[in-house]
Amino acid sequence: SQQGEEDPQALSIQEGENATMNCSYKTSINNLQWYRQNSGRGLVHLILIRSNEREKHSGRLRVTLDTSKKSSSLLITASRAADTASYFCATNMDSNYQLIWGAGTKLIIKP
């Protein structure tokens, strides 16, 4: 079953522009995480936001969480070609092991 659903499925922007991806989920969560996957590689953790947090920053990344709407957004500012990748959100419903993954947003940064 898929808890998180990313939107859009694909996004193509010019280098230097900002990229925004959204994730919606269905049930209450403990935390929500964003991961990046470069083509042909494994996933890499980007940022985690807890259910009691509303916004978090890490370098050029800004994540927001709206638990009332059961949604999160990932903003990448001043995009670079190296940001080209697929981005996945994953939700953790409690303190156990399990993450529920969305199908991802494919981001293409055009030079």
Partner: protein, 114 residues
């Protein structure tokens, strides 16, 4: 640091054959996971392990077997491979407590069943 390594990275096998994908991590993480990634499905959990000798089924366990005799190793076996098991397989691990919120992934094993 070596981190988490998977082997083989690429494998082509025939229907009905047994295939084992290996996973090794150097962090002594308690939890280890096997996921498969298929277009349109995101990541789906096959099996996980909370510690050595403790394993449990995930979302899509049918056709797979795992073992965890040592903390650092978590092999995944396809007992009789089927074409529907053609996929990319990712091994992952995490620690415990607050530091365990982040999952670390291997580079993936591309399996084609013909």
């Amino acid at each position: 640091d070596a981190g988490i390594t998977q082997s083989p990275r690429y494998k082509i096998t025939e229907t009905g054959r047994q295939v084992t994908l290996m996973c090794h991590q150097t962090w002594s993480h308690s939890y280890m996971f096997w996921y498969r990634q298929d277009l349109g499905h995101g990541l789906r959990l096959i099996y996980y392990s909370a510690a050595a000798d403790i394993t449990d089924k995930g979302e899509v366990p049918d056709g797979y077997v795992v073992s965890r005799s040592k903390t650092e190793n978590f092999p995944l076996t396809l007992e009789s491979a089927t074409r529907s098991q053609t996929s990319v397989y990712f091994c992952a691990s995490r620690g415990q407590g607050l530091s365990g919120n982040t999952i670390y992934f291997g580079e993936g094993s591309w399996l084609t069943v013909v």
